[in-house]
């Protein structure tokens, strides 16, 4: 039987870490992820885990310590947010190219500036091309479930890549909500032991890691790394199936909500998906055929599957909680449009930038997006395809 609890998103991650009982956690505090190492270090102090907790002096050091420790053969984790993840940026690539399946709990927060501590996705979207698997979570439950699944996907022999599990700072990281936890023994059995083929502390088989790579070999290494990422899609589904057996909860590459017959739909990431589901239900009650697709895996991006799920939709809004300053939209919009490019018939795509720096998004805000989409459906006039949702505008005054 699962354990009925109420936890914040950060508590849920710390609890998952406790159940996993990793060999090493190296972390540096940054809002809003600070509570994770804080709670976890309490577990360490209380002897509830036998993890080596490494308090470091910066996030660059945190992830560097993680690289060293995972390379040594230890299952290693950390948590960070915003500028912390940005400071890790250099080493994120090192972890990925050395094929070290470290797990990061990434608590999404805007990158400065102007200085802001609230949620948006500019931090993890800035790391999207670093070679890390990225899994996004709507609420505390998904953050917990995804975190437990992430290391199993990451450590799989066909993948061997680090993973970050993302959730919205404060909105879910600090909100206490109901959650169903899995028994310790089941989690322990599910994650198993980390048994890498090669590791630095293997006295029987010494190894060198992180050598200089000349132009004659770098390309082959990157191609091989890309294969690991491709495999992560298949492995994520296998792991999800196994996870369903211990939790009863189903996970896919993404979640399709009332999408089968939808003529207007949105694609969205993290906590606002929940708010958007309420908007969908409200509009469905009015007889409107609306749906949504919630991203779970952003890296690898399951383009084919997403295109298949969306191609019948007439108008689509890709919702980016970050800017990319491409002057034509955000990273999700770009991925969605690329995914649909090969379809003979595909929806008109409007790319919205929304909720930056923690701007609250209400059911009505999402409702207004569907309204916009229906306007396009009715008039056939697409208009500007790169829009800001609920931004104060001179014209609106």
């Amino acid at each position: 039987m699962s354990i009925r609890e109420r936890l914040s998103g950060n508590e849920a991650i710390a609890f998952a870490m406790k159940q996993i009982n990793p060999d090493v956690v190296a972390a540096f505090p940054i809002t809003p992820s600070t509570e994770i190492p804080q709670y976890f270090s309490q577990y360490v102090a209380d002897g509830q885990v036998d993890t080596e907790f490494v308090p470091v002096e910066s996030e660059h050091s945190a992830i560097s310590a993680c690289v060293g420790s995972q390379a040594a053969g230890a299952r290693t984790m950390t948590a960070t947010s915003s500028c912390g993840l940005a400071l890790m940026h250099e080493i994120l690539y090192v972890a990925a190219s050395n094929r070290l399946p470290i797990t990061i709990a990434a608590i999404n927060r805007a990158l400065s500036g102007p200085i802001n501590i609230n949620a948006d996705h500019s931090d993890t979207m800035g790391s999207r091309d670093s070679g890390w698997i990225q899994i996004y979570s709507e609420n505390n439950q998904e953050a917990y479930d995804n975190f437990i699944q992430a290391l199993k996907i990451a450590e799989h022999k066909d993948v061997q890549l680090p993973a970050m599990v993302c959730q919205d700072g404060f909105i879910t990281s600090h909100a206490v909500e109901n959650i169903e936890l899995i028994e310790d023994a089941k989690v322990k059995e599910f994650v198993g032991e980390y048994n890498p083929e090669c590791y630095l502390l293997n006295e029987k088989q010494p190894m060198s890691i992180g050598p200089y790579d000349t132009p004659s070999y770098y390309l082959e290494h990157k191609r091989q790394q890309a294969e690991g990422m491709k495999n992560a899609k298949r492995v994520a589904l296998e792991v999800a199936k196994e996870f369903e057996k211990i939790s009863g909860r189903k996970y896919g590459l993404f979640e399709a909500y009332k999408l089968e017959d939808a003529e207007a739909a949105i694609v969205i990431i993290n906590s606002t998906a929940g708010t958007a589901k309420d908007a969908v239900d409200k509009l469905r009650n009015e007889g409107k055929k609306v749906g949504l697709l919630k991203i779970r895996l952003f890296r690898p991006f399951p383009a084919e599957e997403i295109a298949k799920a969306l191609k019948h939709v007439k108008v689509l809004a890709a919702m980016d909680k970050t800017e990319s300053f491409s002057s034509q939209g955000g990273p999700l919009g770009a991925e969605i449009k690329a995914a649909l490019y090969h379809e003979k018939e595909s929806p008109t795509v409007i790319n919205y930038i929304y909720g930056l720096g923690g701007r609250d998004v209400r059911v009505e805000d999402i409702g207004s997006v569907y309204e916009d989409l229906y306007k396009i459906l009715a008039t056939g006039i697409t208009g500007e395809t790169y829009r800001y949702l609920s931004v104060r505008d001179q014209e609106g005054k």
């Binding site: 190219s97 050395n98 094929r99 061997q160 083929e197 090669c198 088989q205 010494p206 190894m207 060198s208 890691i209 992180g210 050598p211 790579d213 004659s216 070999y217 390309l219 082959e220 290494h221 191609r223 091989q224 790394q225 294969e227 690991g228």
Partner: protein, 99 residues
Amino acid sequence: MTNKINIDETISWQEITPGGNVCASGNSEEFHTGDWRTIKPVFIADKCNQCLLCAPVCPDLAIPVKDGKRGDFIYEYCKGCGICAKVCPVKAIEMKADN
């Protein structure tokens, strides 16, 4: 992953080791550094008193020592750095242009 792989420029992305990691030890002898050389040391056996000061300063494996005596240079490994010539007290090593 195999312990020893002879990685050369014909290796495919499927066969190469992840991240260029080397899951083996004692394999630096497989790495021939001799083609970097522009000048080379020449061993003058008649002058050599077998003091063996040269062998430990060689950064690679270019000076073989057997039964307490050094032999001629293994040019496959010699980068031509000239350290051995500098330390030789009896001038038994001369650096010459390598054609």
